[in-house]
Structures are given as structure tokens and as C-alpha cells.
């Protein structure tokens, strides 16, 4: 890639132990954070999803569960709904899909990351947090391929290490960072977006 990195969106994948990492990051971003953030957390399909309202209470940014065909906006955190995949459309909106599970997961981190990489290309930041499976590794590799930035929670700081380890293995160029460093990285990306 030539030229400075100009971020336009953030995607995050989290599984077992990921909520803890998320709560060390998302509540500390300012209300006027310029980038949209799309998040997949693996949750049992039959559970009503409380995650969005949980984070809405704690975060300055607007938090909601993603609605089908909703326009993506900066300053907004979108959580994938249980039992549906979350995808980014090129015209700038979100789509849900009831497609088969991928790696036993629906929502699938890989599907969000791959569609977002296709839409945002080099402007995307992808983050893999704690988790006990390998979802997200292929998606993160796709982000790197498109010229985006890959960040992974340092396995030692994660409650479950398999997911960050798989992501690092798939993307050797990814930065491995603690939750507080991930937060700093996101804040910096927000600033560089505002100054761009």
C-alpha cells in the first residue's frame, strides 16, 4: 500500500472471553468517534441478545443491534443479531443473512470481515479478540489482503487463546496488542480519520 492509512471502518470479532476485552475498549471511545464499528460476538442462538443494550448503557457511542438494510454511520456500534450473519454491502448498508453456519457459527466473524474487506478495502481495521475457536482467521487474512489493518488481542491477555492464536498464525503481519493498546490504536485511527 502506498500513502497513509486512511481508516473508514472497524470490524471486531469476539467469542469466549471476548466480552471482557470489549468492555475494556468500547466504553472508552468518545461519542463523536468518527468510524462505524461492526461487532460479531458468538452467542447461543436462542438467547435474546442483551449485549447491545448492555453496551448501550456503558458506551458514549450509539450502540444497537444491527437491522437489515440499515445505513452504516460513523459514531455507531452495531452488534450482530443472534442466529443471523451480518454482512456489509458496498452501497454502505448492513445485510443480515440466514445462510448456513460457517465454522459452526452464526453470526460468523469470517463473513462479516470478508464482506467488510470487500466493501472498505484498505480503509478497514479488523480486530480479533479472545475466543476458543478459529473463526475470524480467514476474514482477517482477507482484510490484510485488501490492504487493511489487522489487530489481534495478545493471546496472553485473552481468556481464551485459540482464536487470537489462529488469527496470528493466519496473518503474521497482524499486530498483537493488549486491550488497552487496542483502544489506543482505535483512538489514533479515529483522530487520523478526523484530520484526513
Amino acid at each position: 500500500m502506498t500513502g497513509p492509512f486512511a481508516p473508514t471502518a472497524v470490524v471486531i470479532g469476539a467469542s469466549a472471553g471476548g466480552l471482557k476485552a470489549l468492555s475494556e475498549i468500547l466504553p472508552h471511545l468518545p461519542a463523536d468517534y468518527p468510524l462505524p464499528i461492526m461487532v460479531v460476538v458468538h452467542i447461543p442462538p436462542d438467547k435474546p441478545s442483551l449485549i447491545a443494550s448492555l453496551f448501550d448503557d456503558k458506551c458514549a457511542m450509539v450502540v444497537s443491534e444491527a437491522e437489515d438494510k440499515e445505513m452504516i454511520e460513523g459514531g455507531h456500534i452495531y452488534f450482530a443479531a443472534p442466529d443471523y450473519h451480518l454482512l456489509v454491502e458496498k452501497e454502505g448498508c448492513l445485510s443480515l443473512s440466514a445462510d448456513e453456519e460457517v465454522l459452526y457459527s452464526r453470526p460468523s466473524i469470517d463473513l462479516l470481515f470478508e464482506s467488510a474487506a470487500d466493501a472498505y478495502e484498505a480503509g478497514l481495521i479488523g480486530i480479533i479478540l479472545s475466543g476458543a475457536n478459529e473463526d475470524g482467521a480467514a476474514g482477517l487474512r482477507r482484510i490484510v489482503f485488501e490492504g487493511g489493518r489487522a489487530l489481534v488481542q495478545t493471546p496472553e491477555t485473552a481468556m481464551a487463546q485459540a482464536m487470537p492464536e489462529a488469527a496470528l498464525k493466519a496473518c503474521p503481519s497482524a499486530l498483537s496488542l493488549s486491550p488497552s493498546e487496542l483502544l489506543a490504536e482505535l483512538k489514533e485511527a479515529g483522530d487520523s480519520c478526523l484530520n484526513a
Partner: protein
């Protein structure tokens, strides 16, 4: 003062203004070719999902590009039938989202009971699970005798399976649990016979059903109905096509008729939002407005 031209803005490379990638041009051309040759219209579908599935098809048929796949499909109608399995998503369950069916029982059925005869349209019925759920529910609620069901889809293979009503026995446990949670008043096992790993649903359940090939993207309304259930189909459409489909439902529904959508689907982004009231919003049940 003469009209000024708008100031020249430097192109800012957000995803909206970027020139389409070659792959996306090829994807659109592929969908156009499928439409021109086979009249299956996927041009208004949400592309992220369709692109992913067609990339899988490219792998399967050893095509390097969508253009290669286009060349194959234009000359091989048998391949079109196979590709429908990629272009459409056949994932369903009996009483999927039990709370939806519970809400129908508790909130919609009392209204439906006031009608002497009923027509129910299950649009995008896939392999039949939603239709059988509805038929069982209507029997349990004493509405079956007065009801006629239409079950439609664009995938002929799915329609064939829907008509057969045979499901793998390992799915029965989930079906049974869903049925129970939906407020089922009988035992699900009353409705099927199990043998050799398959559960065959009683054909009396579909005695009052017309299965037919119908596309929400290209076909017109075929009957007046009192209840339309269309779940997890609209998510595959872009906004204009969602609006077309809802337009069909609106036209088909009688005054105060009911529309049920999938648990994450909404009318909010279509131009019909004001034509329906949110009858039971959490359950995604809408009612067509009476006036006009």
C-alpha cells in the same frame, strides 16, 4: 445573477464512490445473463451474500471468474437448476422462532376467527417447514377447515420437498421443542410417522395447500389473502426489491390483514412503512391499515 455551477469537490474515496471492481461488474453481468436466459431475477438481491455463494459455485465448477461461470450457464440449462442451490438459501425449521408462532396464536388467531373463510400465503416457503408449522397451528386453533394455504417459492427443488413433507429424523427434536415453546396444544408426533431415519408429515396437513412457483421479484399478486407470512426472504433483497415484495403483500392483503416477517426484518426501510401498523412489533407482526 447567473446560476453557479456547484463547487468542484475532490473525489473522496468512500466505498460509495469507488469505481466498481471488475469482479463486481462481472457479477452484475452474470445476474443479467441469468435473467435474460432463465427469467430468474436476482438483480435486486443484496449482493454481499450472493457474491459469496457464487464464489463457492465458481470453485465447485472450476471457474476462475463469474464471466466463466456465465459462459457455462448460458449454454447449460441443467446447470441453472444446480446453481439455484447457490443463489437461494434453503435454511428453515418447524416453528422457527417459537415466539413468532406463539404471538400468532395469542394475538392474530382471535382476529382470524371472526372470518368465515381465510386465505394464508406463506411466501418463500423453502422446503415446507413454515407451511407445516402454520398448518399444524391452524388445526390446533380450529381454523384449518375454513383456510386455504398458498405456499410459494422460486426454487422448484425446495417446492418438491415441501410437497413431500419428509424431514430427517435428527431434526425432530428441535422441531418438537420449538412446537412446544410456540404453545403447541398437541404432541408433534401426532403429525408425522417415523421410519428409516425420516419423519413423514401427514398429508392431510397439506390437503388445503396449493404449492406454486412464484417470484416476489417478477410475479404479480394471485389472490386476496388475510394473512401473509414471509420470513427470512426479504433480508436477501435490496431496499427497492423489498419494497416491491411488500407492495405485493399490501395488494394481496384484505383490509386489516396481517403480515408476519422474520425476527430481524422490518418494514422501516421500505416505502410501505406507513401503510401498516405495528401489530406486535417485537414479533414482527404487522397489520394493514384499514382506510384507503
Amino acid at each position: 445573477m447567473p446560476q453557479l455551477l456547484p463547487p468542484v469537490t475532490l473525489p473522496n474515496l468512500t466505498q460509495n464512490q469507488k469505481p466498481p471492481q471488475i469482479e463486481d461488474i462481472e457479477l452484475r453481468l452474470f445476474l443479467e445473463a441469468v435473467f435474460l436466459k432463465y427469467h430468474y431475477d436476482f438483480r435486486g438481491y443484496a449482493l454481499a451474500s450472493i457474491k459469496r455463494r457464487l464464489l463457492q459455485a465458481c470453485q465447485k465448477y472450476e471457474c476462475a471468474t463469474f464471466s466463466d461461470l456465465q459462459g457455462l450457464i448460458l449454454r447449460d440449462p441443467a446447470l441453472m437448476a444446480e446453481l439455484l442451490a447457490y443463489l437461494t438459501v434453503q435454511v428453515s425449521e418447524l416453528f422457527r422462532d417459537p415466539s413468532y408462532f406463539r404471538a400468532i396464536r395469542e394475538k392474530v388467531v382471535p382476529h382470524l376467527k371472526t372470518y368465515p373463510s381465510l386465505k394464508v400465503w406463506v411466501a418463500g416457503c423453502s422446503t415446507g417447514e413454515e407451511l407445516y408449522s402454520m398448518a399444524i397451528l391452524f388445526r390446533e386453533e380450529g381454523l384449518e377447515e375454513r383456510t386455504m394455504f398458498y405456499a410459494t417459492d422460486i426454487n422448484p427443488e425446495a417446492l418438491k420437498q415441501a410437497q413431500a413433507g419428509v424431514y430427517s429424523i435428527d431434526r425432530i427434536q428441535t422441531f418438537t421443542e420449538n412446537h412446544r415453546q410456540s404453545g403447541g396444544k398437541s404432541s408433534l408426533s401426532d403429525y408425522y410417522t417415523a421410519a428409516y431415519g425420516w419423519a413423514t408429515f401427514d398429508k392431510s396437513l397439506r390437503a388445503r395447500t396449493v404449492f406454486s412457483d412464484h417470484s416476489l421479484a417478477t410475479d404479480a399478486v394471485f389472490a386476496e389473502t388475510q394473512f401473509v407470512s414471509c420470513r427470512n426472504v426479504l433480508i436477501y433483497f435490496n431496499r427497492p426489491l423489498q419494497t416491491r415484495a411488500i407492495g405485493l403483500f399490501h395488494e394481496s392483503l384484505s383490509r386489516n390483514g396481517f403480515l408476519g416477517l422474520g425476527s430481524r426484518e422490518t418494514l422501516r426501510f421500505t416505502s410501505y412503512a406507513d401503510e401498516f401498523t405495528e401489530f406486535s412489533y417485537g414479533d414482527r407482526l404487522y397489520q394493514k391499515r384499514g382506510e384507503g
